[in-house]
């Protein structure tokens, strides 16, 4: 049972506080907001603060927003991301950064191939609520053309560049991440490091293979037959691994390490290794990419992989957006600069030095 009073009692407003403290609403507003260039006697300040606390006064943000023309709300449009396994952390990063700044996040989950109407409709809903700005998080494209409406507000992009070059963006440094995997494998003593590639043409595929090739070439270890292409799924990883490993040949013929485009492919590679009687990591080291739950810790041994900086991208986005919002008007100046965030290796159990041969 609850005290009904809490439910029904009228909201206390700034006027109630003013009355209780025996001052004007102006003064209440000033002391509660610490309005700059305003002096109020210490005595009055404490009287006001006490009154506010006693009454449990909570300013109505709607009213404030109406008056100040700033809602303190930012919209996060996620392209399927809310229903995509790995990117809830974007939301988390954005939300924590928003909370620090007193901003509220309103999330719009747009479809990957948005129905022509629904996304603008949701976007409008937020604009009608005077959202101060927008973050558009894509599932990873090169370039994206953001909804027309977004150009009228401060905006920031996650995972893609703006085709019109207007909007700041952030994305993972796939290339550096892949390069660091090769470095790590090389340092562990591997010489024949294969790559299970995939052919979809997105930044992730290009960046990862570029990082791989670059380092393999630099180390003088690159060979065409070390990379095979397949679908970016477990089944593709199985096929690629079979092609790479099943030459009936022992090392040095056979690769001692297999770097997979993503964790799903790595999962298929585990199955291939099992069928070929190869023990991981003794006979074969495997590295994935994405750190896609729950794969890495569901495999045996647990999969060493590369994490995407989802949390960091979310936080970066609201930080940048919030700067844009502050510096209204000239926010175009920041322009199209695009930031790359590091992808750290998550070390687990699937990498070991190659067996002595």
């Amino acid at each position: 049972m609850r005290t009904e009073s809490r439910v029904t009692r009228k909201q206390v407003g700034i006027r109630d506080v003013a009355a209780a403290a025996g001052v004007s609403v102006t003064t209440v507003s000033h002391v509660l907001n610490d309005t700059p260039h305003t002096r109020t006697s210490e005595e009055t300040r404490t009287r006001v603060k006490e009154a506010a606390a006693n009454l449990g006064y909570k300013p109505n943000r709607l009213a404030r927003g109406l008056r100040t023309q700033a809602s303190g709300m930012v919209g996060l449009i996620t392209e399927e991301i809310a229903i995509t396994p790995y990117a809830g952390r974007i939301i988390q990063g954005a939300q924590e950064a928003a909370a620090e700044r007193g901003l509220t996040l309103a999330i719009i989950n747009s479809a990957l191939n948005p129905a022509p109407d629904i996304e603008p409709q949701l976007l409008r809903a937020l604009m009608d609520r005077q959202a101060d700005g927008f973050i558009y998080a894509t599932v990873y494209h090169d370039e994206v053309v953001v909804p027309e409406e977004m150009h009228a507000s401060p905006a920031v992009l996650i995972g893609a560049r703006d085709r019109d070059g207007d909007i700041p963006s952030v994305m993972p440094d796939e290339r550096a991440g892949a390069a660091s995997v090769v470095d790590m494998l090389l340092a562990a003593g591997h010489k024949r490091i294969a790559y299970a590639a995939t052919s979809v043409d997105v930044p992730a595929t290009r960046g990862r293979i570029a990082g791989y090739r670059e380092r393999m070439i630099a180390a003088g270890r690159f060979e065409d037959r070390l990379v095979v292409e397949a679908e970016a799924e477990a089944s593709g990883g199985y096929r690629a691994a079979m092609a790479l490993l099943n030459h009936g040949a022992a090392p040095p013929q056979r690769p001692t390490a297999l770097f997979c485009y993503n964790d799903r492919m790595a999962m298929g590679a585990y199955r291939a290794a099992a069928e070929l009687g190869l023990s991981i990591p003794r006979d074969l080291s495997i590295v994935g990419f994405d750190d896609q739950a729950p794969i890495p810790y569901s495999l045996y041994p647990e999969l060493t992989t590369v994490a995407l900086p989802h949390y960091e991208m979310g936080a970066w986005a609201v930080e940048t957006l919030s700067a844009l919002v502050e510096g209204k008007g000239e926010y175009r100046l920041l322009g199209a600069h695009s930031t790359l965030l590091a992808c750290p290796i998550v070390h687990r159990g699937s990498v070991a030095p190659p067996a002595a041969t």
Copy 2:
């Protein structure tokens, strides 16, 4: 390049529309909102609508909210759900239902073990924005005590009952889902159906094993040694499957079907089957639970499992909440009723009739 005018042009307000149409703002408001018990000449109506369309008038929801004391915004508090793999669909279901009703969803991602302050802080942010009500989505508990503040507003619970019995709730019908799996397996001809259980004491564990036992007993097939407990992870599934299958015994000794508490355990069971040289589904049928991406379609053969009604629970929640909000004041009357939603089997490739013995 964008037309700067769009960026800088002052927002058009209801007054501009009134001026353009040569009527009062009262009239504009009436025709645009179709205010009941109000008649306006057809001619005036069209004039107003045209003027609004020409000017691209979009009502300021902040102002409307301030006036009507209803923000049209509902808060969705998710306990780690935004960063949990399988429940983005709750958000999606809630969002689509909200959009249909002209409501906007604001999402708060609370931690599983919330820091004592952060969650109430976010909740307050939404209350200060005059949210009309709240949905609290838990990761699955029996009962939960919702934050004190929520009791002051219409509210609805996903995945748990309210300890105080005040708040309507919805959850998956785990028991019926598990029962339907046993029925399906029985119908396929299996007699020895094992269950890989887990011992954490949450509704999901109890409901699933209850459904299993109930049907096995009804069919006269229940045996204690058909169920073994392990951790609810791939490693536990591996161990349980090994214990169940590795008696060196062929059917009819050995179970021909294995129902796993969740998909992660099923994943471990696949590995055990492979090591034991058992082919799925020829030698062993496996069924999981959760339909947790990307496991079911990353396994070979793809895993038959049971889906949780996330989308439906999300939609149910906003529908119910919206009813509560409409019927303000007496919303307590709806009270603690708790709704169960069906968990459908998703048929894939891991079930077949038992091999003839």
